[in-house]
Symmetry: C2
Subunit: 185 residues, 2 copies
């Protein structure tokens, strides 16, 4: 398994479906880093073009990897060592290419059903557990902008259960998606 994750803060939608850059939620870095470490993900990219948000993320990482946090909680250090900060998706893809020697398959995640463009958890799981390098993309705020979606190879079917309520946090949605796709259960 050569799996990467990207947490995208631009371009995403706000609640009025305008294109925005969202602020970084530091808790997301912790929760997703720990998920990445749990499920054998090779890297988690925090993607934001906002320099102050890149710096904020850098400070969080530095505290938990090199500062007091790393001595206080070595498990957290282990998780946050998987995190990188990039200005845009192409920067993350380039770093993965440099590491893996191939372009990752990009799988977008979305809370709404994309119809024919969607792939099932079975299909996506086979890709994730196969030989190819795969990058899963998660959107913050109200989700990944169409401009990202149209550049990805696949869009994963929504998590939503039978009840049609589909408003999970990105943290909990990412947890469920990793658990389903990596076949760890």
């Amino acid at each position: 398994m050569r799996l990467y994750m990207g947490l995208v803060h631009f371009p995403v939608y706000n609640r009025n479906y305008h294109r925005i850059a969202s602020a970084v939620t530091t808790l997301d870095i912790h929760d997703l880093g720990r998920l990445a470490r749990t499920y054998g993900v090779k890297g988690l990219f925090i993607i934001t073009p906002l320099v102050d948000q890149q710096r904020l993320t850098g400070r969080v990482l530095s505290h938990w990897i090199y500062g007091y946090g790393g001595r206080y909680n070595p498990h957290r250090k282990e998780a946050l060592e998987l995190v990188r900060v990039k200005a845009d998706l192409s920067g993350a893809v380039e770093e993965i290419e440099a590491t893996e020697g191939e372009t990752p398959l990009l799988i977008a995640t979305d809370a709404s059903d994309q119809g024919e463009r969607s792939i099932s958890y079975g299909e996506a799981g086979a890709l994730v557990r196969g030989d190819r390098t795969v990058m899963l993309l998660f959107g913050t705020a109200w989700g990944l902008h169409e401009d990202v979606m149209k550049t990805t190879d696949y869009i994963l079917a929504p998590v939503s259960g039978k009840r049609g309520y589909n408003h999970l946090s990105v943290r909990t949605a990412a947890a469920i998606i990793l658990d389903r796709l990596t076949g760890e259960r």
Copy 2:
């Protein structure tokens, strides 16, 4: 399915394995409420004996159910309407008994392997999807105190994957556990 959840803030462990009452993390209320709504859980109990923490939780619920939050985001309202605040586990159990007419089976969750006391996801899932009322208990901080564990009917096997890293947030662990047990996938 007659499933309930409890998020326990006392008695739990701190990092030195002392018995403490943890503070409520308001984000947990949101994330777990939305999970409850997604997976058809009938109620989520925030369990804390600390009066200031009960009030804090009450204020969050009030804002999102009756105040501006409910108009701003009706989906959030729908999720938080499932949340109740109780001083202790027995108070939550009594409310469930009053609603369901039977005592719930209590299933504790824990990040460590409890050996013979653990039940598998297959066994627990059969209970959850069966006719009995079931309550899943999640610990905050460093997990449920032994005093809680010894009063429950079952302890669920840990989420941990093959890599043995077992330090997820309660938010993401609860997401994975609900997805595995309710059989929504």
